[in-house]
Amino acid sequence: MEAIAVNDLSKLYSTRDGTVQALQQISFSVSEGEFVAVVGPSGCGKSTLLKILAGILPPSRGEARLRGTPITTPRRDIGVVFQSPVLLPWRNVLDNVLLPIDVQRLGRGGHLKIAMDLLSLVELVGFERRYPWELSGGMQQRVAITRALIHDPAMLLMDEPFGALDAMTREQMNLELQRIWLERKKTVLFITHSIPEAVFLADRVLVLTPRPGRIIDDVQVKIPRPRALEVMNFPEFAPYVHSIRRQFDAKGMIDS
């Protein structure tokens, strides 16, 4: 069954110097429980795509559907993880995690245990009463992931969630995300500009090129899970990275 179906999606922005085509006739689908990464250099419309899928930006043409219904306005069955953790500093960890429950009036009582289970999944037990400033960047982003999962959404949208972390923490978070995904089997759309990260995490990598943003390749990653970090040194890993990078080189783009 298709979780996400994107059909002929285009987005135009009008700026002072005329219109800019951020996305041009994008079509793809994501199966239920699949982990799909979208990789592309900056300015390729990755964030535009995410905002459209999150329902906070309307498309100019075409449509995106989630479990069969078109995404036109923000929906309650989507969890979003942004580039920065975006935690509210006046709420402690637990209250931040329960924000979607408060907003959607789902009742805290029934969700306290779910929140605690999720916090133990991301190894943050004992930190529920702490405030965001007391946590490291990696821990903050784990809180953000927990918050995105609390209302049991049909799809998890992640917009370069580990881009602001240092390389070591980033690798650690990649491992954790894989562990969480293997345990929860959510449908994930993961946006990144790091090709190795995309290949390491995803079942499928969509290659997006900028100006106008369009999908030029759809790569199946057939590396068995769970994948350890050493996978990146395995002989089957490099060809994926090479073939994706070649597509950007061919278009004259120098970006990771």
């Binding site: 329902g55 306005t73 309650r76 975006v86 509210l88 500093p89 979607p100 907003v103």
Partner: protein
């Protein structure tokens, strides 16, 4: 150990400057009606409090200040909220607000005395007028300064506008509002004193005026001393409230750090 030494140094510095002041006034025989020695000021202070005169005027000024502060900041907060939330209110009212803001509010004091008389009412109104603007401007800026990422987060959760206000905009504006209250408190005191200068039956400002007519400069100094202590204490009250409410604010944590160093 270091904190103890700093406290000792502070006391030493204070005492030595008082002694220096006393000595300079005595050696150069400065007349009391120009610049009184600290001993004269202390005596005036003692006399004032012993007779109950200062308590009476002090309580009057305090009442005006606090009432004016509450009234002015409440009005400023609500109007600031209305302007920040409603484009029409902003469009139609903001030009007048800006115009009115550039006016020195104390210049309105004589008019207010004409309209509301010499009683408590006109001093409270004057204090409120002066305290009003810091709150209005800060509330407006605070409510509009919600981070785009946080707004996107709330929108992605399908939050309604009123939820975004209560869960995001309002707490986000609190540091600004508290900074506004900080200023408004002192402004209210200024407004009250100026109103008393212009015309009042009681209050420390009125007392300063009458002492001035009588060339009682030591008395004026003693009242000025009271006023600065009052200002300091009122400011401390706001800081205490601020610390309780804004424990999560980064600037509040910096302030705590600084104070730890200072002590």
């Amino acid at each position: 150990m270091k904190s103890l030494r700093n406290v000792a140094l502070t006391i030493l510095l204070f005492c030595s400057s008082i002694i220096a002041w006393e000595l300079i006034v005595r050696i150069f025989e400065v007349p009391t009606f120009i610049f009184p020695a600290p001993s004269k000021v202390a005596m005036a202070l003692w006399r004032g409090f012993a007779s109950g005169l200062y308590q009476k005027h002090l309580s009057h000024t305090l009442l005006e200040t606090v009432l004016g502060f509450l009234l002015g900041s409440a009005l400023g907060f609500f109007l600031g909220t209305a302007v920040a939330l409603n484009r029409y209110v902003e469009y139609f009212f903001y030009p007048y607000i800006v115009m009115f803001q550039s006016l020195p509010k104390v210049a309105l004091a004589p008019l207010i005395v004409v309209w509301f008389g010499l009683g408590l009412k006109s001093q409270v109104i004057n204090a409120a007028l002066v305290a009003f603007f810091p709150l209005l401007v800060n509330t407006m800026v605070g409510l509009k300064s919600a981070d785009e990422d946080r707004l996107n987060l709330m929108r992605s959760l399908a939050a309604s506008e009123s939820q975004i206000f209560w869960m995001l905009r309002l707490p986000n504006a609190l540091p600004f509002v508290m900074a506004g209250l900080d200023v408004a408190m002192i402004f209210a005191l200024i407004g009250a004193i100026v109103a008393e200068f212009v015309g009042a039956r009681a209050g420390l400002g009125m007392l300063i005026q009458s002492m001035n007519f009588n060339m009682d400069v030591s008395g004026q100094f003693s009242v000025l001393l009271i006023l600065s202590v009052v200002g300091l204490l009122l400011n401390r009250c706001i800081l205490l409230i601020r610390r309780r409410i804004l424990f999560w604010d980064p600037s509040e944590k910096e302030r705590l750090e600084r104070e730890r160093i200072a002590l």
